[in-house]
Symmetry: C2
Subunit: 188 residues, 2 copies
């Protein structure tokens, strides 16, 4: 027997991604997004959603590009601050001591200290309501070599942060449970 | 100094969500999706992406509804099987011993054994490439009482599975690290 709850954004887990953009004066800005994910395999694409009131929203509309820098969980305070402060009021890179690097592939900066970066060209903009969804084709990936196993990103080495809207908390990743795509036979 | 990698779906983390639909004969079907996430806060909305070749794709196009049932990590084998087999060939609920329950809010079934359910009405369909993105407004949530703290879903009680495309693995959640929205001051 299940309890019925009113509609809310209570799916789990959500990522903690730091979205990098340039403003009209070429000042780099960063914004933490928990509304993001992979949405297409070919071409490989992700999305992030921002409220129209945010500085990042305007930057992405102007430049049609963004990066996603994925912090390891040692950067939880930086990620939380970046999600609260606005680039309209302050320089969040200076405030956190993080380093913006210009992508060589898209018109946006990424965070040098974070282990995995996705460089995206905006291919679709959808105003869904409070949030606008920006679908970005991944045109390049940058990674720290210590985040890779056999040349591929390894979640256990990246240790990304998880967000849960229902409990308004950040959570860590645990252990590797199993290889995917192995249970080829019915269980019953 | 970072290594450049070719474009791929190597963001982390991805969810492991089981999407419930009805086919044209009212047979319930389930399909595991790792391409999914929250995309809008008002109205609260999620998306899942499916390849056009999948049985679920046709079901959602016909019924304009789906549910997302979020398994705890004790159901990792069931979730993996449901992501491999096709409802065109078999009844995946019978094959896993899981129970389909008709939603009272949308024209789709959910999985009774899983702790958190999102009931969605399709509001947007976008063919992005190999995958089609189905944006769904969350019109209701069903949860086991043991998955809730103060009436809200608690990630530590749900223990959802994480998927990582880069290492093709499933991972568990770890511990709760911090409350979100607390770091209101610059760190430097």
């Amino acid at each position: 027997m299940k309890t019925s709850l009113d509609p809310n954004t209570w799916a789990v887990p959500s990522p903690v991604w730091v979205v990098g953009t340039y403003d009209k004066d070429n000042k780099p800005n960063v914004m933490t997004a928990a509304w993001g994910g992979i949405c297409n395999s070919r071409p490989p694409s992700i999305y992030v959603s921002h409220r129209e009131a945010t500085y990042s929203h305007g930057n992405i509309m102007d430049r049609k590009a963004y990066t996603v820098s994925i912090p390891g969980d040692e950067y939880i305070k930086e990620a939380d601050y970046i999600g609260i402060a606005s680039g309209k009021d302050t320089n969040k890179l200076e405030d956190t001591g993080l380093t913006a690097v210009k992508s060589d592939l898209v018109d946006a900066p990424y965070v040098e200290e974070f282990p995995l970066i996705l460089e995206c060209r905006v291919v679709k903009v959808d105003k869904l309501g409070l949030h606008t969804m920006f679908v970005g084709e991944i045109v390049g990936i940058k990674a720290d070599s210590k985040a890779l196993t056999d040349g591929r990103p390894d979640l256990q080495k990246i240790k990304p942060i998880l967000f849960s809207s229902g409990d308004r908390g950040y959570h860590s990743v645990g252990s590797r449970l199993a290889d995917a795509f192995t249970q080829r036979n019915p269980l019953k």
